[in-house]
């Protein structure tokens, strides 16, 4: 065949007016889309949400073999270092037994002091667990798409955690999927408390693997290894969620997140409703399936409170082997978690 001699056959060039015109129109279209995207045009956002909702099954199907392969690879790696890992876990288990005893003791003490003070119980946190079905890649965004949406009670602004700690918060919620803005995204700002002194700061993402610590008070004493956890002062995030540990030196402090943000798998959405969240809801909340509808308004899958002995298994709340790990992240004992407990774990 003539074309088989060289795959890069030379072809005569020719200029065509309509093609040039079409190219110009397309360049113009891209520029218009960028401008509309910049100003956050509602039509564009709605269209994108609808498309992401529609493409969610395809993305989930495409992600499944990749996730399985990643798990397989992790398993092979863990087999390779199994004996060393067993020794490490034994040592860690011994240490954790000490911690368990101490935590129980502190829990009793806290309960006793609370009863003496007649303290009001803080509301419990409910959560739903799902998995990451797509990653956002690019210079703009560090986000992940999860297979929980409005039908599962997810709304915009909810905190998202995994077994290691805080992962991010939801910024878009479709019917069956939601987009999670990760901690290290350029637009992520989380008010935090740092170290045992509880120094207030703002953990800001800059699209790198670590977070910046902004607005530290003058003369703040921080040390590498200090724990960083949410302060809850934004009125959106619950207080006491683990974020990461301090790295670096004075003037250039960074936070290394506990969660491995580049390889997320199972995550949990905390249903933490605050006035700050409800105040930002759109006025069309009469529709229970509307964006940012409250979990109570959606009959499909309500998160199970701790008191219920056997929650109806759904995609959102069916028993998950990772649940115990997730509970560790915020110190929970069942399907609902108290912020007090989360703080107690921090201390």
């Amino acid at each position: 065949m003539r074309g088989e001699r060289s795959p890069f056959r030379r072809r005569p060039s020719r200029w065509r007016g309509p093609v040039e015109l079409l190219s110009f129109a397309l360049y113009f279209l891209c520029a218009v889309l960028l401008v509309l995207s910049r100003i956050g045009h509602g039509l564009l956002i709605d269209a994108r949400d609808d498309f992401v909702d529609l493409s969610a099954p395809l993305l989930e199907a495409a992600s499944t073999p990749v996730i399985l392969a990643r798990h397989g690879l992790q398993r092979v790696r863990s087999y390779a270092g199994a004996f060393a890992e067993i020794d490490r876990l034994k040592a860690e288990n011994e240490e954790l037994k000490q911690w368990e005893w101490r935590a129980k003791s502190l829990e009793r003490k806290v309960d006793h002091l609370r009863s003496l003070l007649n303290a009001v119980d803080e509301p419990a946190l409910h959560y739903a667990t799902g998995s990451v079905i797509a990653d956002a890649r690019g210079p703009f965004l560090r986000s992940a798409l999860i297979n929980l949406g409005r039908d599962n009670g997810v709304r915009i602004g909810y905190a998202v955690i995994n077994g290691d700690g805080l992962v991010g918060r939801t910024v878009d919620a479709g019917a069956s999927v939601a987009r999670v803005l990760l901690l290290n995204d350029l637009n992520s700002r989380i008010p935090v408390l740092v170290g045992p002194a509880g120094v207030r700061a703002l953990a800001s993402g800059d699209n790198s693997a670590e977070l910046r610590l902004d607005f530290l008070p003058d003369g703040a004493q921080l040390y590498p290894g200090d724990e960083v956890y949410t302060s809850g002062s934004d009125g959106v995030m619950p207080r006491g969620l683990r974020v990461g540990v301090v790295k670096g030196t004075s003037g250039a402090y960074k936070v290394k997140p506990h969660a491995e943000l580049s390889s997320l798998d199972a995550v949990s959405v905390l249903f933490f409703d605050t006035p700050a969240l409800t105040a930002t809801d759109p006025p069309s909340l009469a529709d229970p399936r509307a964006l940012s509808a409250t979990p109570e308004a959606t009959p499909a899958a309500q998160p199970a409170p701790a008191a219920q002995p056997a929650p109806r298994p759904t995609a959102a709340n069916e028993p998950n082997p990772l649940d115990s790990a997730l509970k560790q992240a915020v110190g929970v004992s069942s399907g609902a978690v108290s912020t007090d407990e989360a703080q107690a774990v921090q201390q």
């Binding site: 065949m1 003539r2 074309g3 060289s6 795959p7 890069f8 056959r9 030379r10 072809r11 060039s13 200029w15 093609v19 079409l22 190219s23 397309l26 360049y27 279209l29 891209c30 520029a31 218009v32 889309l33 960028l34 995207s37 994108r48 498309f51 992401v52 493409s55 395809l58 993305l59 495409a62 992600s63 990749v66 996730i67 990643r70 990451v132 079905i133 797509a134 990653d135 956002a136 890649r137 690019g138 210079p139 703009f140 965004l141 560090r142 986000s143 992940a144 798409l145 878009d172 290290n184 350029l186 800059d206 699209n207 790198s208 693997a209 943000l261 580049s262 390889s263 997320l264 798998d265």
Partner: protein
């Protein structure tokens, strides 16, 4: 050659950009740049019909999947598409070397432009390292991707024997 095959191959790559591979934060720019590279290659190879409209739509799909601003990857894909066409005009479509060289220059320009565009979009200087790393990786991957596309092209030609003699559209 069928117009479907190039579009489908790039579509496959677009879907791959959204799959959670577990890549480190520095490597997040590689996969979308591979999509742009494929658009460039399909436009540069003779006898292939990937229209600029398809290039823009695939770029838009990358934007939607990635959650970034709409039009960013569409614009980069369109620039790559135009560059691919001009590489044919200037007769650089018959050798791997010149195409590789053109892609190196193009991706350097695209990386700078993308970085400036992203910085302008967010009104702050964004981290340049992932973009530079992605551009360098795409240059290294160019022969692999090009040979893969040539393999697809040859497969398509086998299925549609008359298509190999069609002019470009």
């Amino acid at each position: 050659m069928s117009a479907i095959l190039p579009t489908l191959s790039v579509l496959f790559a677009v879907i791959a950009t959204a799959v959670p591979w577990g890549l480190p934060a520095d490597a997040t720019f590689i996969l979308p740049l591979v999509v742009v590279m494929m658009v460039f290659c399909w436009r540069a190879l003779p006898g292939v019909t990937l229209s600029p409209v398809a290039a823009v739509l695939l770029g838009l799909l990358t934007d939607v999947m990635g959650g970034g601003p709409l039009g960013f990857w569409a614009l980069l894909a369109l620039i790559a598409s135009s560059a691919g066409t001009y590489s044919r005009v200037f007769g650089a479509d018959h050798e791997l070397g010149p195409l590789w060289l053109i892609w190196t220059g193009l991706v350097a320009g695209l990386a700078c432009f993308g970085w400036l565009l992203a910085s302008a979009f967010f009104l702050r200087w964004i981290d340049w390292w992932p973009i530079a790393f992605g551009a360098a990786a795409s240059v290294a991957l160019f022969p692999v991707v090009l040979n893969g596309l040539l393999w697809i092209k040859r497969s398509g030609v086998r299925q549609l024997p008359h298509a190999s003699y069609r002019g470009r559209v």
